[in-house]
């Protein structure tokens, strides 16, 4: 591959990673905002609250406001964050593969491949011996 093409590709990958990281921050900010809202809805004594939807404030009953925030928004956010994380991992792996020879100790870009493993918990690791108490 042409050197310039390769550099351009690396640049694109790097840029994508940075954008995605910012995206996660934005999502997390929104998620925390939602969490605070849910808390406030739960503690309030009123039956109806003002909900901001884009440019508009709408007065909604607490129950429907709660379902809106919780089910519609929050669940989608969690899913979205998961997808973005996956994307960041893929892009980082691709980038490492391209720069492989340069990363010391982890030759030929093989190190980040291990991040494809499914997670394991400490309890699983420490309690293999089933004959123990």
């Amino acid at each position: 591959m042409d050197f310039i093409d390769e550099q351009a590709q690396k640049e694109v990958l790097g840029e994508n990673i940075l954008t995605d990281r910012q995206l996660i921050i934005d999502y997390d900010r929104r998620r925390n905002g939602n969490r605070e809202a849910l808390r406030a809805l739960k503690n309030t004594t009123d039956t109806k609250s003002w909900v901001s939807l884009g440019d508009m404030f709408i007065r909604l009953p607490n129950t429907s406001a709660t379902t809106m925030v919780k089910e519609v928004d929050n669940e989608r956010l969690v899913q979205e964050v998961e997808e973005v994380r996956e994307r960041i991992l893929r892009n980082t792996q691709k980038l490492e593969e391209m720069e492989g020879s340069e990363t010391q100790h982890h030759k030929e870009g093989t190190f980040l491949k291990s991040f494809d493993l499914k997670p394991i918990t400490a309890a699983e690791l420490y309690n293999i011996d089933s004959s123990r108490d």
Binding site: I25, R29, G33, F115, K118
Partner: protein, 469 residues
């Protein structure tokens, strides 16, 4: 090597996904060693062979293979093995042991070997934790007037990018006060367990007080999102998993180093479990390298154990080194090459190291001089090279330090020929020492054993034990 049919002891679970063996469709690349790399000089063909092996190990393409490095003392067998470790990097487990280490009263020989084998096989696993990480802006705790009702409170946490308020329950308040968390601390909350750890104090708060204890650590306010996912990939060796799961010891034995014997049932269970993890995509096996130095010290029982253990599906690459020629196999009265039984020798790849050429000796001595901060005139280096060629490289290296001390005594900045000559007369090399003994042995005690000495004991042995410190 085909997978042996009868080697299914304790490894039934491994059959579905056998580790790749050497020669299974790997393109063999020729690696050209540069004349001097990682402080290594000469031995081009041995290093080329070692480089090839490293490459195969890195790609995880070989396991259960054995390599023998044979060569005269001081020809860089151990140095090449160390170079291989360095080249393999952090990800691949590397165990080094001298063959005499396995003879211990606390442990049987086979147990020691099994442990060494299992130390050299890594299991790569990923740990994943959701954490909330940020700098505490404010903690607000409401106590009821009577002090009996449950406390409640609010915790404000920020990163450089965002800030949020958490409502606190009784449990979290207790945890916070137990950790003595104050505004300005950077904390870490594990989402699954709710455990709080203090990472340090935020740097922006470092000017709050003039006097702080020495244990106060200042850290940057974290960046990015508050709730992050930490993914860590560990490589643990099978032996470590054995130890933390063996009933009698507990994981503290890992630090004490004294692990005792581990029950075969425990190992069996661990093998089964790891086989499961492998199939579920939770773990991957990293076959590492086991280096056995002075392999001629192993006895016949160890060799027959090794023979079988290498056929196990879970075997690392075993590198052995020996400086013996034809010698007795320990534990028998038979002689064999390198002190290794012929049937075992047959399955080894043998790399031989040759004596260094004069050019190489010079370069090595130069490197040693640089390493020890000794300045040497070209003439002196020439003389030392000659000495190194005629006696042994180790002897010449020993002379560097002593000669530099002599030079220092006469207040010279660099070592000259005269200094080398002086230490050469002061300290005998192994040949002259033997010569001396032959001449004067009547004056020594028990000299009747002296006659057999010069013929039976290999000359090299006395030199290598004395200088391998």
């Amino acid at each position: 090597m085909e997978a042996p049919v009868n080697a299914s002891y304790s490894t039934k679970c491994w059959n579905p996904l056998p580790l790749p063996r050497m020669g299974s469709a790997t393109e063999l690349e020729i690696i050209n060693p540069i004349p001097s790399a990682q402080g290594m000089v000469g031995q081009a063909s041995a290093r080329r062979a070692a480089g090839l092996l490293v490459k195969l190990i890195q790609e995880g393409k070989i396991a259960g293979r054995a390599i023998l490095m044979a060569g005269a003392p001081g020809t860089g067998k151990t140095a090449i093995a160390m170079g291989m470790t360095h080249e393999l990097g952090q990800g691949v487990p590397f165990t080094m042991l001298a063959a005499s280490e396995i003879f211990s009263l606390e442990m049987s020989k086979t147990e020691a070997l099994t442990q060494a084998f299992r130390r050299s096989i890594g299991v790569r696993i990923k740990e994943e934790t959701e954490v909330i990480q940020g700098e505490v802006v404010e903690i607000q705790i409401d106590r009821s007037a009577t002090g009996t009702a449950a406390k409640s409170g609010k915790l404000t946490i920020k990163t450089t990018d965002m800030e949020t308020i958490y409502d606190l329950g009784q449990k979290m308040i207790d945890a916070l006060s137990k950790e003595k968390v104050l505004a300005g601390d950077v904390i870490n909350i594990d989402k699954a367990s709710g455990r709080i750890t203090k990472l340090g104090r935020s740097i922006t708060r470092s000017r709050d007080y003039d006097a702080t204890g020495p244990e106060v650590k200042f850290v940057q306010c974290p960046e990015g999102e508050l709730q992050t996912r930490k993914e860590v990939v560990h490589t643990v060796s099978l032996h470590e998993i054995d130890v933390i799961n063996s009933r009698t010891q507990g994981f503290l034995a890992l630090f004490a180093g004294d692990t005792g014997e581990i029950k075969p049932e425990v190992r069996e269970q661990i093998n089964t479990k790891i086989g499961e993890w492998r199939e579920e995509g939770k773990a991957e096996i990293v076959p590492g390298v086991l280096f056995i130095d002075e392999v001629h010290m192993l006895d016949i029982e160890c060799f027959s154990f090794l023979n079988r253990a290498l056929e196990d599906q879970l075997a690392p690459v075993v590198i052995m080194a020996s400086n013996r020629g034809m010698t007795r196999i320990r534990g028998t009265k038979y002689k064999s090459a390198h002190g290794i039984p012929a049937d075992f020798l047959d399955r080894l790849h043998i790399i031989s190291t040759t004596l260094y050429a004069e050019e190489d000796i010079k370069t090595i001595l130069k490197i040693r001089c640089d390493e020890e901060d000794v300045e040497m005139t070209p003439d002196a280096l020439e003389v030392l090279t000659k000495i190194g060629g005629e006696t042994s490289l180790r002897y010449a290296i020993q002379l560097i330090t002593t000669a530099s001390l002599v030079a220092k005594k006469r207040k010279a900045t660099s070592v000259d020929v005269a200094d080398i000559k002086r230490v050469y007369t002061l300290f005998l090399d192994e040949k002259r020492s033997v010569q001396y003994l032959k001449e004067y042995q009547e004056q020594y005690l028990y000299n009747e054993t002296g006659e057999t000495m010069s013929t039976e004991v290999p000359l090299a042995k006395s030199a290598s034990t004395a200088m391998e410190i």
